[in-house]
């Protein structure tokens, strides 16, 4: 039976070879979209690429409600690995051996050095950043100016002290000073990223701290950054408009309140900006850092946390021509004028690459770019966390918000979660 099948296969392959001989080689590559909310934008971009590269088609694989890790595990197991995928830190660690070395590609060289630190192994780059997203506090200019009667410049908020004074003023008006969201990915991943990044200016020092955490030897309660980070959170909780039921508001509610000029400040990332503008085209919002202390000189008070996922190309199951097509696509997207235009206008991304001829036009992305240009950015530390720990961090923060946990409880559970998740 096997022999018979083999024969059939051989004949089929020969026939294919005869038929396709001489015709330009058609290549089909697949792309695992791990951000379903922008799949339409990606498809538009792929169509634009195929228009000038008719022999390449790029098909999308949806995540269909599974985790990236689960999807990749099953795709690799079935021999159907996607040619291109978007991964976060934990997935990168799990599949790094499968990914293609892109150090010497045109687009690989265009990425900022600091942005590929996480995905560099033995001096070789295995994945490149997708887009820069800033996390911090979103401010609503319209609300703040209406409440204070003065022009608002986000640069005037240099520390927690400045923020406190402003919140006190706004609280006396009809506007809500703060809203806090309760999603576990925000509390457990994005917010904790700020915490670990602000602990030290120095990359190696930060890595050391993570190692200490993993051994369960890091004392959060005695750490100034942790206490400062919590103090700011306390301040925001005091002025939170959902204080009565802090876990009751949904992400949609929060977007609406910000878009409808009901609230002044919101801890979030600029990825939400398209939604806000979609609800209110005249919204005047921007991003500023999440302050860590009352002293404006302290590291973290004037830096914004950057986050991005990564593009990786499969190097294990894709054919040479598929890999070449994937490399060519990224060269087009990240280094050619036409591709860059789609990167900025269709995907609404913020470049983490040198040599971009155009820059984003939306005000929030511009702000993020200016922080990047000044070098006032914090690393996304959650990329180094063990898998699954952000869910636990999120739960600890939710307890704290709900009033069933104290600061010490948060510190203790962080410690416990690190030990538990690292030992696995």
């Amino acid at each position: 039976m096997k022999k018979f099948l083999g024969m059939i296969m051989l004949i089929a392959i020969l026939a294919m070879a005869v038929v396709t001989h001489g015709a330009p080689k058609k290549v089909e590559i697949s792309f695992l979209v791990t951000k379903p909310e922008i799949v339409t934008q990606f498809r538009k971009t792929f169509d634009a690429y195929s228009a000038t590269h008719p022999n390449v088609t790029i098909s999308t694989i949806p995540l269909s409600g599974q985790t990236i890790y689960e999807k990749l595990t099953s795709l690799y197991a079935s021999g159907n690995a996607p040619t291109i995928t978007m991964v976060g830190g934990p997935e990168f660690t799990a599949f790094k051996d499968k990914f293609l070395d892109v150090t010497n590609t045109k687009f690989g060289k265009a990425a900022y050095d600091w942005s590929v630190r996480r995905t560099t192994m033995n001096g070789k780059i295995y994945a490149v950043p997708t887009t820069a997203e800033g996390i911090g506090i979103m401010y609503n200019k319209t609300v703040i100016e209406a409440a204070t009667g003065k022009k608002f410049d986000p640069a005037s908020i240099k520390s927690r002290k400045d923020l406190r004074e402003l919140l006190q003023k706004i609280a006396k008006t009809k506007y809500a000073p703060v809203q806090l969201s309760n999603m576990d990915w925000l509390l457990g991943s994005h917010m904790t990223s700020i915490l670990y990044a602000a602990m030290s200016k120095d990359y190696d020092e930060r890595q050391k701290i993570l190692l200490q955490c993993a051994k369960g030897k890091f004392d959060f309660m005695r750490n100034d950054t942790f206490n400062g980070w919590m103090d700011t959170f306390d301040l925001l909780m005091t002025y939170n408009m959902h204080k009565g039921a802090p876990l009751g508001n949904t992400y949609e509610d929060d977007q609406l309140a910000m878009a409808k000029d009901k609230v002044a400040f919101w801890v979030i990332g600029n990825y939400v900006y398209p939604n806000i503008v979609g609800m209110n085209p005249d919204a005047k919002v921007g991003m500023m850092p999440y302050p860590i202390s009352d002293n404006q000189a302290d590291y973290g008070n004037s830096q914004i946390t950057l986050t991005h996922s990564f593009f990786a190309i499969d190097g294990a199951q894709s054919s040479k021509s598929e890999q070449a097509a994937a490399i060519d696509f990224f060269n087009w997207l990240l280094t050619s004028a036409k591709g860059q235009k789609h990167y900025i206008d269709t995907l609404i991304f913020t470049p983490v690459y040198k040599g971009f001829s155009i820059q984003p036009s939306n005000p929030v992305a511009k702000e993020i770019v200016s922080y990047m240009k000044k070098g006032k950015t914090l690393e996304r530390m959650s990329d180094y966390f063990p898998a699954g720990i952000t869910v636990k961090f999120g739960a600890a923060m939710q307890r704290y918000m709900d009033g069933v946990g104290t600061r010490k409880d948060v510190a203790d559970s962080f410690k416990k979660d690190w030990l538990e998740m690292s030992s696995k």
Binding site: G65, Q66, T67, Y69, E70, L72, T73, Y76, A77, P90, A94, F95, D97, K98, D184, A245, L247, G248, T250, P386, A387, G388, V391, K392, G394, A395, A396, Q398, R399, D402, M421, K424
Partner: protein
């Protein structure tokens, strides 16, 4: 029961009536199942190369994990309520739609609609109902119980899961009960009516004993669905607030695919399988013995 004279004849019959489904079953379910069982004895991390055999280490770790048992405890409470409430409601609905009134077919279709809406959307709709509609009603009528969003309080969040599960499963089980009720021989019922049995007596003495096959199926299906529930759990509470409603299927899933512990996750899945199989087997065994064999 039929008897065959020769082994050959028996084999022929077996091949004719059972070979293909059995083959499909072995190839599609049994072989992967056994492979999965073997994987649970390794330090598997997702990539198949370089895995090592570690014996029962994953099982020992799973049994020691307090999170597993906490989820299990929660799940038992959930299963108990869902099984009882679903079947009471489903039987009631089935009796209603077979009692012969105008529009019973419309009702039968209507009761089944919850099954047309799957996971994510269902969660969204109910989230909206709990987050906005109930809270709104509670605040206007000053009912303290409703004024707080049920999904955000650990004690009530589990009840939202039970409520939605019963709502979703009742129509499904109703269908099986309807098939059972329709299958009852009318002459038996007429005979009991002539003998002067009240409708209550007829329910207890004639209908229920003849409905045992339906009960075997519905109880089994409800147990299975309740123990394995994941969709509703994910879309409604995501296991929150702060992991207080993480049912067992979600716990196993998260350990394997969020925490990336495939080996231990696999071991937990088989533990869960063993526990549920024991419960369900017992239930099927008891009820199968009560089934009335044809005369």
């Amino acid at each position: 029961m039929y008897e065959e004279k020769t082994k050959q004849k028996s084999l022929g019959i077996f091949a004719l009536f059972g070979l293909l489904p059995l083959l499909a079953f072995v190839i599609v379910v049994m072989i992967p199942f056994i492979s999965g069982l073997l994987l649970s004895l390794t330090n598997w991390k997702g990539v198949l190369d370089g895995i090592q055999f570690i014996g029962l280490g994953n099982y020992a770790a799973a049994i020691k994990d307090p999170g597993f048992w906490a989820s299990m405890q929660l799940t038992v409470v959930y299963v108990l309520f869902v099984t009882i409430l679903t079947n009471v409601l489903a039987f009631l609905l089935a009796s209603l739609v077979t009692s012969g009134f105008k529009g019973q077919n419309l009702c039968r279709t209507g009761y089944f609609t919850p099954n047309l809406i799957g996971g994510v959307i269902l969660g969204f709709i109910w989230q909206f109902i709990f987050t906005r509609v109930f809270v709104f009603i509670g605040q206007t009528l000053d009912i303290g119980l409703l004024a707080k969003n049920w999904l955000t309080v650990p004690q009530t969040a589990l009840w939202t899961l039970i409520l939605v599960s019963v709502w979703q499963n009742a129509g499904y089980m109703m269908l099986v009960y309807v098939a059972g009720l329709m299958g009852i021989d009318k002459s038996l019922l007429e005979a009991s009516q002539i003998d002067g049995a009240s409708s209550w007596q007829r329910l207890l003495r004639v209908k229920l004993p003849l409905m045992v096959p339906a009960f075997t199926i519905t109880l089994f299906l409800t147990l299975r669905r309740a123990f394995m529930v994941y969709d509703v759990n994910l879309s409604l509470t995501k296991g929150g607030p702060y992991n207080s409603t993480q049912l067992i299927a979600m716990h196993v899933y998260n350990d394997a695919f969020v925490n990336q512990n495939l080996g231990p996750g696999q071991a937990k899945a088989f533990l869960l399988f063993a526990i549920v199989a024991a419960v369900a087997m017992l239930q099927v065994y008891i009820l199968k013995n009560k089934e009335v064999d044809s005369l």
